[in-house]
Subunit: 220 residues, 2 copies
């Protein structure tokens, strides 16, 4: 089964959307993620349906098939391995990697990915803390909790972010809340859901609920 670059991008978006939200994936949502128009999405859904990577009934909704899931995870695997490469080997900042990885993930060569994986020493997580599926699409994910849902005095380690936009990542870098940082919740403001946290046992900082809800923590 061969997918075009465009098809891979759609399928990846569909996979991510089906994973995070429980409700069915909407045409508009996909259009927003892919940065395209709903009309183009409808068109592509028909094609993806024909290729049996999704089950699609128009106006009704869609469901990703096992085949689709496997293919999407292969693309995600490639994307995350390249991100590790860019950060670990080429010293990219973790907020500079996405755009390039978006291109690299479409390079077709099983040998390349096998070798890259070995070269990087079989990493289990990418620089944002997201798990890297193995070649069969299996994921070992760690139990994580959004920072704004933690209780006072609870501690942990930042392991991932939900929103990985460059702007957000730059902000985190600036305040020192990078992936791997050890944090502890000092206080929570009930009124607006904002939190005060201690970073790496030295710096305290305030975070709005919006920001905190985008930070995933591995509790300790």
């Amino acid at each position: 089964m061969e997918l075009t670059t465009a098809e891979e991008n759609y399928l990846k978006a569909i996979y991510h959307l089906s994973e995070e939200g429980k409700k069915s994936v909407s045409t508009n949502d996909i259009a927003a993620v892919i940065q395209t128009k709903p009309a183009s999405v409808s068109d592509m859904l028909r094609k993806l349906g024909e290729k049996e990577v999704i089950q699609y009934r128009k106006y009704y909704g869609l469901q990703i098939t096992e085949l689709g899931k496997r293919l999407a995870l292969q693309t995600i695997r490639k994307h995350r391995l390249w991100e590790v490469f860019l950060v670990d080997k080429l010293h990219f900042a973790w907020d500079e990697v996405h755009e390039v990885a978006e291109q690299l993930e479409h390079i077709q060569s099983t040998l390349l990915i096998e070798r890259l994986d070995a070269y990087l020493n079989y990493p289990k997580f990418d620089p944002h803390g997201d798990p890297i599926p193995d070649e069969y699409g299996d994921v070992r994910s760690r139990p994580r909790i959004a920072l704004n849902e933690m209780n006072i005095d609870q501690g942990g380690q930042i392991v991932a972010v939900k929103d990985s936009s460059a702007a957000f990542l730059r902000y985190l870098d600036k305040v020192g809340a990078y992936i791997g940082a050890r944090i502890k919740v000092l206080d929570k403001v009930e009124f607006d859901g904002s939190v005060e946290i201690l970073v790496d046992q030295k710096k305290t900082l305030f975070m709005s609920k919006d920001v905190a809800s985008n930070i995933l923590v591995l509790q300790s």
Copy 2:
């Protein structure tokens, strides 16, 4: 000037064919190299002519322009750098690299290529022994200067070290002065010859003359 992947491939083929000397490049020759039909080549030649990367008069022949040469050499540079990566780092055999490098050469990111070049230690030849053009399309060697010999406010990129002992490299990695890092001389202490430098526009650090004299910088 932005070229599509297809345009890059045509231009690269045209460059190679023109270099091979011989008479002017024929439509049929290009078709043979690109594995396409002469009709498609004619079409593309018109487009490349409009973009002024070749000079084209139909039925007459074509000549690659300076602009075209520069762009072709950029693609060739990327191709050959990736080949070095595949062989040196991922242990591909020299006859397995071409197909993958054909894909990788179209990834668009100046930063990526700069970092890759640095990571591979500025190779001058690819695994087949073909020369790797520099970022300006030249094969000339670049002038380097020891870090301790630079003047205040001068900037550049770390391109090599004289002492490549593991201990020294570990030290450099620790302070963030790896190969490829962009640096700027902030201050020099006349008394002991030590320098203060800015690394990657964010971190400043002091270096003894001994250390600085072992670091080679490509001035910019």
